[in-house]
Symmetry: C2
Subunit: 260 residues, 2 copies
């Protein structure tokens, strides 16, 4: 097929690679941007991007830049966890928010990261890095630790033996310390993180369990280190987490399972 070039590569993989170049913070990319980020020849990238644009998967703005198209957004709307969990959890998030007036987040596991599927933010609360749809590391965030600890030994080993990036001075990167924390987390269902991702910000998280006892998400509140005492936050997070889990069909008797 190709005059020359990189073999063993499917068209599909190239097409998807072009798509997944779009990331939070890089939502409007020129053709040249796509070429740089994918490393593919520009004629190839162009053909693929134009085809995606033809289908409405990408939009092309008057200035020539590509953005994610509405049709792709519509498709995303159909993702299962997202829609049901979000609408189910929303009232609880709102209650938590009115009670604490702090950032409230709902996240699920995706690969080796946590994905934020819903957030309520206080205007007066400190700015956070990531948005809805954004990703968080597993080893140094509240929701991350909760999800990781219930993600099965395979995932845990993969993450712990991989690069544990030191996002902040107080990030915990010693795998033995983490392993112990995860064990605690598996027992209690909660995780408390102090300034591990961003200096000055703490996070209190709780697992969300469905009717089969599977941990399908994590709920967390992000607070300033000096502001509220964690003892005050933790109970409400636990209560809300249990409430959501209950709506998902979980009952106190159901044993919480690992792995996913």
């Amino acid at each position: 097929m190709p005059r020359t070039g990189e073999p063993g590569r499917t068209v599909g993989s190239r097409l998807l690679e072009v798509l997944f170049v779009f990331q939070p913070g890089h939502t409007a990319l020129s053709l040249a941007d796509l070429v740089r980020k994918t490393g593919m020849p520009h004629a190839t990238v162009r053909r693929l991007a134009m085809e995606l644009a033809d289908f409405g998967a990408l939009d092309r703005r008057p200035d020539g830049r590509f953005t994610v198209g509405l049709r792709l957004w519509q498709l995303g709307t159909l993702a299962p966890l997202t829609e049901s969990l979000r609408t189910l959890a929303q009232p609880f998030l709102e209650d938590l928010y009115t009670a604490l007036h702090q950032h409230v987040q709902l996240a699920v596991l995706e690969g080796r990261q946590a994905v934020i599927i819903e957030r309520l933010s206080a205007p007066e609360a400190p700015e956070l890095v990531s948005q809805v749809g954004g990703r968080l590391p597993l080893h140094c965030t509240g929701v991350g630790k909760v999800l990781l600890s219930h993600g099965g030994t395979e995932l845990i080993e993969a993450v712990l033996s991989g690069e544990l990036r030191e996002y902040a001075p107080r990030s915990i990167v010693a795998s033995e310390v983490l392993r112990k924390e995860l064990a605690d987390c598996r027992r209690t269902g909660t995780a408390t993180v102090r300034e591990e991702l961003t200096p000055g910000l703490d996070s209190v998280a709780m697992r969300i369990v469905n009717g089969e006892g599977r941990v399908v998400a994590a709920l967390s509140v992000v607070v300033r280190t000096d502001s509220v005492k964690h003892q005050e936050v933790l109970p409400s997070v636990i209560a809300s987490g249990l409430g959501i889990s209950r709506l998902l069909g979980w009952r106190p008797g159901v044993k919480v399972r690992n792995n996913s």
Copy 2:
């Protein structure tokens, strides 16, 4: 390339066709479903679907069915209009909702349909057909008429000369009547629809204008035909619409433009 088969077809188009088979109401599809809906040979569909699953664009559930994957949802998150407009408009939608306790919708134009990008629904309010991410016809909905009337003559002619489906007994399908309504709508920026989509449901809509005077969205409230008087609803919809437009940089002096 193919042993035999339909030529003039790109791999990309096939891949996207598989993706876009997923629609509201059909969010979990078996391989056989995909084959039926695309009409492509099952070996081909399988190859494409598996590749999409490998990349996380689709998920494969234990029962073998495919669903839209989280990564696709994340991508959709990056669509421009969606995220900014939604967060911007949300407070206004909430205000409208608390004032009226009826369905409140925000929609944008996509091709020859309106796409709902945000909705607040009253639990006690009547069930609606479509969800967030769902589509509405242009010729017999409030948001549709608002968007259509400002969509340029090209779009208007295309829609009016196309099939004007009669969703309900009171649907207006006479193109001359519609043309007059659209002219009114262009002048006032609002549209009122009585039982044209669903018997018993009316809708009051208002355009959202950005700083350049372009109509980028439409806001609407859906009410029972017999419930509140439209005169009471209309002013609040107008007020909220103006509020959102103002946040988008629109000032009373800016002339509203057509076409998009």
